[in-house]
């Protein structure tokens, strides 16, 4: 009996915390750059969480400094940490389908965002990225700090022109 009551109490607290967070996810004021769907707890539209640039900038930021296979020379990418976005939406799945403007998509394990300081870059060398330059969002793995990430699967998951993340599983 005691166990059941304790468990019940714990669930109540957990639910309360989620409710508080759901309430905290404000609606986007500007142009929506990213839409997160699927197994998420916090939403600001029907069944999805939408982010404009200001919301993304408000999240904890990450920084990449180095070379990528797609850019010339040393470059700097900055943007919100993938894990921060997952936290913001209260994601509970294991796999994300990261989709791009051109309908390209890659399946990325949620654990990638948890284990590595992956960012959704909003800026390239300090400037916002237009679509012509793979903007507005680009999944950048911390290959500068973890050289082991310079492998094909990482490159496949480094989706550019990201518009949506669908959390499943």
């Amino acid at each position: 009996m005691l166990h059941r009551r304790t468990l019940l109490g714990f669930c109540t607290v957990l639910f309360a915390a989620r409710s508080v967070r759901a309430a905290s996810l404000a609606a986007p004021a500007g142009k929506v750059l990213l839409t997160v769907r699927g197994k998420i707890a916090n939403t600001n539209a029907d069944g999805s969480a939408r982010f404009d640039l200001a919301m993304l900038d408000a999240l904890p930021q990450g920084r990449f400094e180095g070379e990528t296979p797609w850019t010339k020379g040393k470059t700097v990418f900055t943007g919100p940490l993938g894990s921060a976005i997952l936290d913001a939406v209260g994601a509970s799945g294991t796999t994300m389908r990261v989709a791009a403007l051109n309908d390209y998509s890659a399946d990325v394990p949620v654990s990638d965002f948890r284990k590595h300081a992956v960012i959704l870059a909003t800026r390239h060398d300090g400037a916002l990225m237009p679509v012509r330059e793979q903007g507005p969002l680009w999944v950048i793995y911390p290959m500068d700090k973890e050289p082991d990430l310079r492998i094909e699967s990482t490159y496949t998951r480094s989706v550019w022109q990201v518009t949506a993340i669908d959390i499943t599983g």
């Binding site: 797609w70 051109n102 390209y104 679509v131 012509r132 330059e133 310079r150 094909e152 490159y155 022109q161």
Partner: protein, 847 residues
């Protein structure tokens, strides 16, 4: 040709090692190659970073089609325009990515042109898109021509990209195949190298094994060879010893005949020749003795004796032996015995004496001027007491290179100036072997101030209470001047030992006594209360011993050699001497009378028994071996007598020192045993319980020296104790007795022989003929045991011949010569008899 062959053989020998080295290098190369190949392969894979050309082209083509669709479906709305714009932007991003430099592989010319064409087409579109933006609608030709042309170009680019990728993949695959082949070759090399090295190791092991087997076989051969060589060496020694022995006998004949010849009518020339024959003969005999001795030592058949003896006497006696030779050369001769040398030590007296004598003889022989000194000292090392005797000479010295060689047998250093020195060159070899047999060693070094120092060091034991002689108190200052440094140092040691302070002449001032060598002048600044010359021809001459020096220092004359006052005080006894041998009888009686006793003599047991019946003596000295009634029977008879006569003190006199005699003697009731030769000290000692006289200080009588022809100690005692003129008479009596035996037709045999041997072993010992005594005892044992007595009799005759020659001065020369010849003949006859006997019975173990 031969050179080439030799090199080839050398190469083949080194071949195993070379093969190993080559194999090792190959393995190293192969391993290195494999590493390089693997690294290359990995980098090939890592380099495949970028997307394939085909993928880029296909994506691009897809974007064009997307743009085409959005253009075609444009309805003039805002959303439609945004859609067109977005697709155009995406297309633009694709163009950016299609940078030639990032494509892998780098596009060939055809593909490059195609990409350029596509890029150009896309840029052309930009203007049209801007027109749409402004609101001009979608121009018709854009749909129909431009975009279709771009689509066609993109399609072409995709095909070319696919071809390029295919070509690249083939290139990569063939590169990988090449790498695999290289890898395979390297792997094969590595495996081959391993196999080769295994084979090389196997080969080396086989070679080593063969070498080991060869060396084992060689070792066995060597063992066999060594055994053969040793057998050969033993055979050589036996041969040498036999030869020497066989030569001795005729040599005695030669010498005897030479003596006879010398006493006939000869002219001067002939006399000189005879003298040469005699000198050479004697030298040859002494060399034979050396050879015999050396052979015995080589064969390790020498039995070492251990006895307690007076080392001082031994050393001083050795000095006396070379005294005349040193005097003839005008050499100083000093014998120093350190104060811590005990009065008695335990080792082989005769052998040690032999070494000392040999070293001294050599030193005197090779020293032309100056002096020779012998110093005896004690050392304690490794918990043992070491007796050390150093003989220092002022001779020419021995070159360092020769110092080891001189101890080898038959070695004589060539010295042009000393051609006259004779000898076998065995002396030092013999000395060294003796020293080694005694557990010691012998060495030579350069003496300070020129010359050599030979020292022998031998471990000795000594009685617990032996402490050496304490130094006396300082009795005054003595300066020693002149002589060689070695002699001076030795004399100074003696001076100190005598309790004086030895000063040198250089320190000026005054001394109580100046010891001045006869060849030196007194130093000018030195005042001496007394001055004493030393050196050859002076009062203090060779050998200078502690005794003589002390006497000289005390101001007295040279001390008499045996001045022990034995006969003083004590009770005078009435004694009976029973001995069948006249000489023994007389000597014993003379000595006893000298001791102050009253002596009656009888010649056999029966007479003795008759005498004791008439008169009670204080003691009876009875010879154990007498014809008729022997000593044992006599003792039993006396003990069986009634009255107090039976309690008389009975002293057995015998030449036998063995234990059997002791047992039977005690059973017969004899009180004590006196071993021959009878000496003053022994007599005094054995009579001590009756006389009550304190034991004389010098009474520690030395045992006989079995090897000497004439034992000088015994002879000295006889000279001083016997009435004047008695010794020559007794000697003559002895030799007359020998002559009578030789006169017996067919020689003595049976009981007669036995009796004579007994008599002669007693009387020869009494007269100091030590070697003859030993020979007689051996002959007696041989007769007793019934084994072949010929060899021992031969030896007895030989030693008698030597003895009679040694006493030439005491006997008429023709008599000596005659006896020498007859004894030699007898020895020879016995030797021949032995030879005949040996041929008849080859298994005679005693020869």
């Amino acid at each position: 040709m031969r050179e080439i062959w030799r090199r080839l053989v050398n190469w083949r020998q080194a071949h195993g090692l070379w093969a190993l080295a080559i194999v090792a290098a190959m393995s190293l190369l192969a391993a290195g190659a494999e590493f390089v190949i693997l690294v290359q392969r990995e980098s090939q894979l890592v380099d495949r970073f970028s997307d394939s050309t085909w993928w880029m082209a296909a994506q691009f083509r897809s974007e064009i089609q997307q743009l085409h669709i959005s253009l075609a479906s444009y309805d003039g709305s805002e959303g439609g325009l945004d859609d067109i714009h977005q697709h155009y932007e995406i297309l633009g991003s694709r163009i950016q990515l299609m940078d030639e430099s990032r494509l892998d592989p780098r596009p060939d010319e055809v593909l490059g042109n195609s990409i350029a064409e596509v890029r150009h087409g896309a840029e052309q579109l930009a203007q049209q898109i801007e027109t749409i933006k402004i609101g001009g609608g979608v121009p018709r030709h854009l749909l129909d021509e431009d975009i279709r042309a771009l689509e066609r170009a993109a399609g072409r680019m995709t095909s070319l990209g696919a071809q390029s990728d295919a070509t690249h993949r083939e290139a990569v695959r063939s590169a990988i195949r090449r790498a695999n082949v290289a890898f395979g070759v390297a792997l094969a090399m590595l495996i081959g190298s391993l196999l080769l090295s295994l084979r090389a190791v196997d080969r080396q092991a086989a070679t080593l094994d063969a070498a080991r087997r060869r060396s084992e076989a060689l070792g066995q051969e060597l063992t066999v060879a060594l055994a053969q060589a040793q057998a050969g060496s033993r055979a050589k020694n036996v041969f040498l010893a036999t030869m020497s022995h066989e030569i001795r006998t005729p040599m005695n004949g030669v010498l005897g005949a030479t003596s006879l010849l010398a006493h006939t009518q000869l002219n001067d020339q002939q006399r000189r020749w005879v003298a040469i024959i005699k000198a050479c003969g004697e030298a040859l005999l002494s060399q034979l003795d050396d050879v015999l001795d050396f052979s015995a030592l080589e064969a390790a058949s020498v039995r070492l004796e251990r006895e307690l003896f007076d080392i001082r006497t031994l050393a001083e006696d050795a000095g006396r032996v070379v005294e005349s030779a040193a005097g003839a050369n005008g050499l100083d001769l000093v014998v120093v015995i350190d104060h811590d040398v005990p009065a008695q030590v335990l080792t082989d007296r005769r052998r040690l004496g032999q070494i000392l004598l040999n070293l001294l003889t050599n030193a005197v022989k090779f020293t032309a001027s100056g002096g020779v000194s012998l110093r005896v000292s004690m050392r304690r090392r490794h918990g043992k007491a070491w007796l050390r005797a150093a003989v220092v000479d002022s001779g020419p010295g021995i070159p360092r290179a020769d110092r080891r060689r001189i101890f080898q047998e038959f070695t004589r250093l060539e010295r042009p100036s000393e051609r006259t020195v004779r000898g076998t060159g065995l002396g030092l070899a013999i000395s060294q072997r003796i020293a080694q047999a005694l557990g010691g060693r012998i060495r030579v070094a350069a003496a300070r101030g020129g010359g050599s120092v030979f020292w022998v060091s031998i471990p000795v034991e000594m009685p617990q209470h032996e402490r050496g002689v304490a130094l006396a108190h300082l009795a005054g200052r003595v300066a020693v001047v002149g002589g060689t440094p070695g002699i001076r140092a030795a004399v100074e040691l003696l001076v100190r030992a005598a309790g004086y302070e030895a000063g040198t002449a250089g320190d000026g001032g005054s001394v109580d006594l100046l010891l001045l060598h006869r060849s030196a002048d007194a130093p000018p600044g030195l005042r001496a209360a007394r001055q004493l010359p030393f050196g050859p021809g002076t009062g203090l001459d060779a050998p200078i011993t502690a005794e003589r020096l002390q006497a000289a220092l005390a101001g007295g004359a040279r001390p008499s050699r045996a001045s022990v006052p034995l006969a003083q005080a004590g009770r005078s006894l009435r004694l009976l001497v029973a001995d069948d041998d006249a000489i023994n009888r007389e000597i014993a009686a003379s000595l006893l009378r000298h001791l102050g006793h009253d002596v009656e003599i009888v010649s056999d047991g029966r007479e003795a028994l008759a005498a004791v019946r008439l008169e009670t003596f204080d003691a009876v000295l009875l010879d154990l071996y007498m014809p008729g009634m022997d000593g044992i029977d006599l003792a039993k008879a006396i003990r069986a007598l009634p009255g107090e006569v039976a309690a008389m003190r009975l002293i057995a006199v015998t030449a036998d020192a063995d234990a059997n005699v002791g047992a039977s003697v005690l059973a017969a009731g004899i009180d004590s045993v006196l071993i021959k030769p009878v000496t003053l000290e022994r007599l005094a000692e054995v009579l001590l319980p009756l006389t009550g006289t304190a034991k004389p200080a010098a009474a520690s009588a030395a045992p006989p020296s079995p090897g000497l022809v004439v034992d000088r100690k015994v002879r000295d005692m006889l000279i001083t104790r016997l009435p004047a003129g008695r010794l020559p008479a007794l000697v003559r009596t002895f030799w007359d007795g020998v002559q009578r035996v030789l006169d017996v037709p067919g020689g003595l045999s049976g009981e007669g022989l036995e009796r004579w041997l007994h008599t002669i072993s007693g009387s020869a010992g009494s007269l100091g003929y030590a070697a003859a005594t030993t020979a007689a005892k051996l002959a007696r044992e041989a007769v007793d045991q019934g084994v072949g007595d010929a060899p021992t009799l031969s030896a007895l005759y030989t030693s008698l011949a030597a003895a009679v020659r040694a006493d030439e001065a005491l006997l008429p020369p023709p008599f000596v010569a005659m006896l020498t010849v007859r004894l030699t003949e007898a020895a020879h006859a016995m030797a021949q008899m032995q030879a005949a006997h040996r041929q008849g019975e080859p298994m005679d173990g005693r020869s």
